[in-house]
Amino acid sequence: MLVDNGSAWTKGAVVGRSRGRWRIAAHAAQPSTWDDADLVAGLAARLGGHADQRVTERLQRILTDAPRIACHTPARPGRLALVAVSADLSGRAARRAAESAGWVVAEAATVDDGRSAAERLVALQAAEVDAWLLAGGFDAEGGEMALDMAGLVAAARGDGHSPVVWAGSVQLAARVAALFEAGAVRAVANPRPAADREDPLPLRRYLEALLERLVEPGGARQLAPVGFSRAVAELARASQLRIVGIDLGARYATWVSADGGGHAESRILASGGLASPTITVPGGPARIAHSLPIAIDELAVADALQNLRARPGALPQTDEELAIVHGAARALLAELAADESVPDGADLLIGAGLTVAGAPHPAQAMQLLLDGVRPLGVTQLAVDSAGVLPPLGALGNDEIAEGIGTLRDDLLTPLGAAVVSQGGRAGHTAFRITVHRIGWPSLGPVEVRAGQLVLLPLGRGQIAELEIELESGVMIGTPRRARRSHATVMGGAVGLALDARDVPLVLPRRTDDRRAVLASWRDALQREPARPAAGAA
């Protein structure tokens, strides 16, 4: 069994042998407050109709005793106090590195935060933290203000034992260390070494290791965000594709970008999930209400989002609640994507987490990924609907390739492919596309106007050659002068989405117009794809 014990939902999958091959035979998800026996019973019920009759009666016992590969969401996030000179320079770079490494910034103090030194000191004394992160000063200049802020930390920390990380000017490292007891301070490369340069990677790496040591000693591989990252990297290596994977959970959000060599960069946001406070901050509910295709009062949106935080293990029961949850998911995915750059686009975009991968209709999952991430160019889209990537990523270095390879055909549910363009004049043609399907008549050329989303039929496993002709001012990530390009795509549960809605999405200001446009996009993906007349979408 593969089990992912999430903070709100537990996902389980049964791996069984069928006709000589290892397959994912059944999967189920349940709130994490339920017992393990309930998960076993749920999986046995799913298997019931398909399993060998000789073992049907004993399924629950067999599943209970089955070997497990398990992972879990961290029991609690690491909490950090961030003290820096400037909120926008040193503070911003250090915060990005810390949050990307899975830390929660519980308290932040900067010289320009508008508080007096005494107020900062009181706030830092009150903060319940696992570690202190200090940043400030450019490497070439030093910076006395950074030293003053270090003094503030020394005063606030008192006789505490929590570690201090100095990620500021290299020239000040020794003087900062002298403010604390021997061995308390670890100097790490400055994430903002100069005014015009940011290099958060060494700090992120160090903070990842520190988090492992302080919060989950010895078990990092069994952490779901780490497992997800490792599984995506292995998939990329095995398929030689550039893959972006996004796991949007209740508390955590994980973004992984892996190249064909299996080298992965990941960001783990401990407060990036759907039950995180970021979506309920003032202005958050209004932003989400603004993005919905149906009219829902902003106050109702705010209450629904708060309930999502209060009871993340409950399910949206009504259309309205589902629309709100999906609105929140789109906003969080967009925030994640805004902080990332996918060099030259990605070949495959994987959505994971119950909200995305468990969306009632595959078209909803595709729209969440397209609207949230806006993957420029030609991209395959898929979801980890069985929730098996994080537990498979918990396998050891010598087993992960075998684990991923054995189940490769079942790991992902392909949604299809998308062509996403940027630029173009509203209402005018953005690109023309001709779809050559093996064994089927070609489609098109189909004209897609700027602002339009069109779905063409392309079934699961069906391969198509695309001929794309871009209008002036429109890009799909190919070299600027290349107006024509070709790509090979494979279909899925939804089809081939032709998306000329710009990057980022542009929405009308008038409420009625905006809702009409949002509803038309939703309907375009959710209705049965039609074979278009040549020359028009």
Binding site: E128, R157, A178, R311, L315, Q317, T318, D319, G358
Partner: protein, 345 residues
């Protein structure tokens, strides 16, 4: 049988504890003393010691972070000394003007634990107290730790706590409201000196408005006393489950402690409170947590086989529930919890 729980009191750094492990404490007892740092002052060092500002480092007897007493030597050179004018925390040393920045410590302020019980353990910046009380855990809350006598402020669990119903009789008490309270009602409660309020639900906007009012009053310096709010069921207009409401009624007049930010309520010397259990079975009394039945109670009449789609389209395990208003509806099992009466446990 009375309940018992372990409660963690978080202490700000710099708090001097006044209790030891094993000590019995009362809710209003001073468990420690704390001196808040005040606006920093500059203590000249270079001039009195006749050194250049850049040379004071070698004269210093303290470093940033040091806690000093009044009269303690800060710097020394050839028999000359610079002493601290007040007790305080050294924040920084300026090589620009050759001075020390010192945050004086204000007068000692008592730290109140707001719980009754026995000190179980002392951790770094925290105290663990064994509390002889029944614990009720909410889904959220806000405000301070408070304690007071428990009173019930509404007739029915689905009633709204009206501002007009709050008077001086509730001063210093923890008031059990019903399905919601407006920002006006919360503001009035605070103004009347109510220690805390327990609600089934509250509108996010009302809570935000109330918190904004409190913030403005705090900034203006016109706010005294503490106030805590505990939210039991969820956001929106959500009644308290009738069984729990009845239990509150039965324990009205008992001393209680409310920790708004932690979403916790303790009622002392009380029998165990009704609890919740996931995965209800047929015949269980339940409470629903999501719209359109949020906060409503009912009885499970059947568990549906296989997965069924909710109206949102999500396929999931469902239960057929007869709600108290007579409606019969399928509800996702994930969205309901069985209510377990104390005697049934």
């Amino acid at each position: 049988m009375n309940g018992s729980a372990l409660h963690r009191i978080r202490l700000q750094r710099g708090t001097a504890l006044a209790v030891r492990v094993g000590a019995e404490i009362r809710p209003d007892e001073v468990i420690g003393l704390r001196r808040e740092p005040l606006a920093p002052i500059s203590v000249p060092v270079a001039r009195p010691l006749h050194r250049k500002p850049t040379e004071i480092a070698e004269t210093l007897q303290v470093r940033p972070g040091s806690r000093v007493h009044a009269g303690e030597v800060l710097a020394r050179e050839n028999g000359h000394e610079v002493t601290s004018p007040q007790a305080g925390l050294v924040l920084a040393v300026s090589r620009g003007d050759g001075s020390i920045l010192l945050a004086p410590l204000g007068p000692e302020q008592p730290v109140i634990g707001h719980v009754r019980g026995r000190v179980h353990a002392i951790e770094e910046n925290a105290l663990l107290v064994e509390v002889p009380a029944a614990r009720v855990r909410g889904v959220g809350g806000s405000g301070d730790a408070v304690h007071g006598e428990l009173v019930v402020g509404v007739h029915n669990p689905e009633d709204e706590l009206r501002a007009a119903a709050i008077d001086v009789g509730a001063t210093g008490k923890i008031l059990v409201g019903g399905s919601r309270a407006s920002a006006e009602a919360l503001t009035r409660a605070r103004a009347m000196g109510v220690a805390g309020i327990v609600l089934g639900g509250v509108l996010d906007k009302e809570l935000r408005d109330f918190e904004a009012i409190q913030r403005r009053r705090r900034e203006a310096g016109g706010m005294t006393g503490s106030f805590g709010l505990l939210l039991l069921e969820g956001f929106g207009k959500v009644g308290i489950d009738p069984q729990l409401f009845g239990w509150f009624r039965a324990h009205a007049g008992r001393m209680a402690s409310l920790f708004g930010a932690d979403g916790l309520l303790y009622i002392y010397d009380a029998g165990a409170a009704p609890t919740r259990r996931p995965v209800p079975t047929v015949g269980d009394r339940i409470v629903a947590h999501r719209r359109p039945f949020q906060g409503r109670g009912g009885v499970v009449v059947a568990l549906l086989e296989d997965l069924h789609a909710a109206s949102s389209g999500i396929a999931t395990s469902m239960a057929l529930v007869r709600f108290e208003d007579g409606r019969l509806a399928p509800v996702p099992l994930a969205n309901i919890e069985a209510i377990v009466a104390p005697e049934a446990r």
